[in-house]
Amino acid sequence: MWRYIAQRVLVSIPVIIMVGIITFTLVYIGPGDPAAIIAGDEATPEILERIRHDLGFDRPFPVQMGEWFLNLLRGDLGTSYFSGREITELITPRLQPTLSLGFQVVVLSTIIGISAGMLAAWKAGTRLDKNLMIFAVLGFATPGFWLAFLTIWVFAVNLGWFPVIGYKPLSAGLIPHLHSMFLPVMVNSILASAFISRITRSAMLEVLREDYIRTARAKGASEFSVFLRHAFRPSAIPVATVIGASIAGLATGFVLTETIFAIPGLGRMLVDAIVRRDYPIIQALLMVVATVLIGVNLIVDILYAYIDPRIRY
């Protein structure tokens, strides 16, 4: 088991390095001139030249990239063009909203998605199954930002149950925090659970056709036990994959959701940075998000081994 985990960790390292190379190269070869952005419109060529030199933009590409990597290893994500502040410092207050949103959505969508998928598989072919799957396909096709718009219109504008915007941090109290996050959490959870329930259902149905399910029945196991004890764990691998994939989807979802619901998280920060062409922030956020997702994939890989003993060897 430990060997397997070590092996998965080792496999992730080149991916992270590649992510770094891509991130750095994109910004490096991009046409935007960082010196011009920093200096503003009225800068003379001499000033631009000095800025370039001060920030090291006139050095060769590999040197710049190497230094960037070294800084990353030291936990230094760079400095914002716009505010001139350390990016790590800028990111820290942004973490809580996004992590809170992410945690709630992952927990909720996993619970809803797996239960709905299992229910559909249990009742396969019935009207309940069909309705659940229609819901799942709809969730798959509905754009999150439009669903967010609809829920705001119904629950915030017309019913007034929730504030339209107005994020309350955890320090304002758990209940106000959850209340202010309710709509964005629901929108993202519904969409993610649609995806998870589809996969759960089809994986369960596939496993229920296996020979060992027949063996379990031949032993006299109840249908409930066949379903939960014998069929669920073997079908959990594709489900774990899809939960991992939906977390990647959430990264996208959060950029939109945080913009719509005015949540001061990392997604908003990225959109703001893009508007201001604050490349170091874009670079840093791409790097952070990709690293987190690689970490998620690593966890999913380790889950595989926990689920299926054949993978451990």
């Binding site: 020979d211 060992y212 027949r214 063996t215 029945r217 031949a218 032993k219 003993p309 054949r310």
Partner: protein, 329 residues
């Protein structure tokens, strides 16, 4: 004669497929006596596995459906039981072993948890007691180092070992009937004999009846007391195993016997496969389903379907021409 343990009467099971309705089992009747080994033989697709699954009520529904008949086990008609009552019989009164040792055990559960399961369900043993009993069972089926094996997963065992575990599992609650559905087909020949010997040993010790489903006539000859030959969903001949070899009375049985080598026949006697192909079950010929392949077929065979009839004590044949078939040598 020993008492009848299992009495299958007029059992029919059909499958509704896209190609049409398949009568996989068509009005068959046979009896298995207490303590005997009964073999159901036939080519693949003849309905013998469906028969076994019908007895256990494990036919996937839909597309399958048991449409008529009774399956009396120890005086109770299994087909009339409620699901809960049937579950109490599966794994406790009737054990079953399947063909695929590779896929018949759950890959994500330890051997111990799978072996202990029927003991917990039927004998209401505590986890500790069930685990102890599981260890005894592993010893019984001849797998060394039982304690360590119990903690392993199916993929860590060989095919033969897995089938031994299946036997241990099926025998764990001391059933009165053990059904072995092609239980050794997927194994190496040497392992096949070991597994069959093991099955015979454990069933003999406990007086359990053994219903062997197979296409292998060698197995029938060596292990079975009585045998039923199945073709296209129907039983064609039922007799004592020794009788069937000595005096086959149905053309299909004759064909089967001629297509396998026998040690007691003349050296150099040619093997003759049965002419023609297994018929399409959705579109069987009129009359006797074997008629396109039958060298003895007469006009009547193409219009009427012969019923199984008793021609001497313990011998039943479904053939109009059985008398001439019996004289073929």
């Amino acid at each position: 004669m020993a008492e009848v343990l299992l009495k299958v009467k007029n059992l029919s099971t059909l499958f509704r497929t896209e190609g049409g309705v398949v009568k996989a089992v068509d009005n068959i009747s046979f009896e298995v006596r207490a303590g005997e080994t009964f073999a159901l033989v036939g080519e693949s697709g003849c309905g013998k596995s469906v028969t076994a699954l019908s007895i256990m009520r494990l036919i996937p529904t839909p597309p399958g459906e048991i449409t008529s008949g009774t399956v009396e086990f120890d005086g109770i008609d299994l087909l009339k039981l409620r699901n809960r009552e049937m579950r109490a019989i599966r794994g406790s009164k009737i054990g079953m072993i399947f063909q695929e040792p590779m896929s018949s055990l759950n890959p994500v559960l330890t051997i111990q948890s799978q072996l202990a399961e029927p003991l917990k369900i039927h004998m209401k043993l505590s986890s500790g007691a069930a685990n102890d009993r599981a260890e005894e069972l592993v010893n019984m089926v001849g797998i060394p180092d039982a304690r360590a094996r119990l903690q392993q997963y199916p993929h860590e065992l060989s095919g033969g070992q897995r089938q031994r575990i299946m036997i241990a599992m099926a025998m764990s609650c001391a059933p009165r009937l053990l059904i072995a559905d092609e239980a050794t087909t997927a194994l190496d020949v040497t392992i096949q004999a070991q597994i069959l010997d093991l099955m015979q040993d454990v069933t003999e010790q406990s007086g359990t009846s053994l219903l062997i489903i197979t296409h292998n006539l060698g197995i029938v000859a060596r292990y079975a007391d009585r045998v039923a030959v199945m073709y296209a969903g129907k039983l064609r001949e039922v007799s004592d195993a020794s009788d069937m070899y000595a005096e086959p009375q149905h053309p299909y049985t004759v064909g089967l016997l001629r297509s396998v080598p026998r040690l007691d026949s003349d050296k150099g006697a040619p093997l003759t496969p049965i002419a023609g192909e297994i018929p399409d079950l959705t579109d069987l010929p009129d009359g006797c389903a074997f008629n396109p392949r039958c060298p003895w077929a007469v006009e009547r065979c193409f219009t009427d379907d012969p019923e199984l009839e008793e021609i001497s004590t313990g011998k039943q044949v479904a053939c109009f021409e059985h008398a001439s078939v019996a004289l073929h040598d």
